[in-house]
Symmetry: C2
Subunit: 339 residues, 2 copies
Amino acid sequence: MSAESGQARPAPTLEMVAALAGVSRATVSRVVNGSPSVDPSMADSVEKAVRALNYVPNRAARTLASRRTYTVTLLVPESTSKVFADPFFASVVEGIARYLNTTEYMLNMVTSSESNPEKTRRYLLGGNVDGVLVVSHHTGDHSWERLNGQLPVVFAGRPLVDAGQSYFVEVDNEEGAAAATARLTGAGRRSIATIAGPQDMLAGVDRLAGWRAEVRRAGLDDALVETGDFTVASGAAAMRRLLDRGRNIDAVFAANDQMASGAYSVLQERGLRIPEDVAVVGFDDDYYATSLSPALTTIHHPITALGGKMAEVLVDLIEGRPTERVNRLPTSLVVRDSA
Amino acid sequence: MSAESGQARPAPTLEMVAALAGVSRATVSRVVNGSPSVDPSMADSVEKAVRALNYVPNRAARTLASRRTYTVTLLVPESTSKVFADPFFASVVEGIARYLNTTEYMLNMVTSSESNPEKTRRYLLGGNVDGVLVVSHHTGDHSWERLNGQLPVVFAGRPLVDAGQSYFVEVDNEEGAAAATARLTGAGRRSIATIAGPQDMLAGVDRLAGWRAEVRRAGLDDALVETGDFTVASGAAAMRRLLDRGRNIDAVFAANDQMASGAYSVLQERGLRIPEDVAVVGFDDDYYATSLSPALTTIHHPITALGGKMAEVLVDLIEGRPTERVNRLPTSLVVRDSA
DNA sequence: TTGTAGGCGTTATCAT
DNA sequence: ATGATAACGCCTACAA
């Protein structure tokens, strides 16, 4: 066959279905949209016609008439460059896409060029979208909450200061960190240090708070703190500083698995056994957790679930269903060999 | 009616702009769409009105009337689960998104559930999209080329057997492999082995062919071949088999960086120095390349560019511009310390 | 329960 | 160059 570069036969319309089924367009519309009040026999012949013609409603027409787009936008504030390579982002998107697949909503992505945020803003407010999902890495960046009241928006992570109006879903970092630490206290460890994350990031702050809460609850010293920036190297450096304090440390809670990885190397280079001499618990349950030796006991960070929940909340918002404004997802302890 | 929760003032319409500018809707439409034949002064007042009202064309209406959606779909045949976590996929998408950002096309993703490909098919052919981009991992899976002739489609990677009709863009694996090998022959290596990729994947086949071509060109033995499956472990195993042949090998071209990493460990465990005793060149220039020690000399695989080119070709196709059916992207040698 | 008819915001075809 | 006036395909009161 000769490949025409042009389009082919036009898609069947509601009207054609109506003709074939011998009913009015209104009836077809009702059947297609699952209206409750339609005579079963009619519905039947309509459905037959739909299949015969392989009819699919035209989205644009539907949107124009109903003023609903059935589209939600994934807004990526960062410069397009690196986002997609980030496994965190990838997992969130996966969760979103998976949930949306169970609905009739479509996902479309727009990376708001910081060069021209107004363009993005106008697009969103131009009636082209039913709702917005914001996944940023500047944790707490809710600058797009201005859209609230105009258009439903759901954020990943809570804002730096919760003004009580934006919808968001976050992982319960504090509880997770406390659980990680409890694994240590529960095993009789008495000198528990932590390699904290950056204190200008919510995850860093919350995880440190969780560690501190549990350590105090157990009546232990809460001064064994060194901070890193979530990288392997910073974890190693922090572990080194901790050890150089000359105190006898028998356990470490690292605020993420990468820093735990850094701690491993220092611990091992100093001849300390894991977990015999020093037990280690991480956070995130990522690639590093399983590839380390001994395998890292850590806190599972439900990133995909986070995305799924975001999408769920947004759809609820769009359809006017009552929804919690803030959702905090629980974490779980994954026990392996390091603690 | 009662007030809808959250929603606000309706977006300004073309009609409102026309009223404010004191012209007809047709004229406004012309101005907005940059029609050549409009009186400058008129255009001016229209633009003023557009800004004043912060007018944005309604996408659905525009689509309905023009029968153009300005939307392209990224089709992901795999099961949703793992795709996003794959760095290759992530980079391709990044390239696509970046290019599309320079156009007026929107990107929307649909992961075709293998459970129900017909649904996807109907959506695509239902006039909801102007074109399709297919990124699959089953290299050569062009099962969606059936859409050709109905809707423009561009694939990542060439089909197993090129029937001469589907548009695709691929990286020149063969040339890249030859360049990698030439780095070795050029340095006077005489006994050059290769750790080939799976021979049921195009990348595996092409890279082996490139190695073979260069090795023969240099008049060397082309029997030093062992195959892996692109994983680190398989690379180590292949290296071991190569060494166990008892031949004196002074260089190795690994079909990807991960297998090169595996080769490194075996080489080092047998006390062979890199590159003094055995020079190594990889392919992909990924994370492994820089984290290995000594840093790996490798072939840069332009994944992001691949995505960008795909989008470019698709848009050209949609707009009826002449375009090459097959695009082969050049690779480049990245010289580091292993060869 | 089913059909009629008006409209959703643009583009496109004609005249003018 | 500009302006009426149909479509575009569907939804939704409202009427029957």
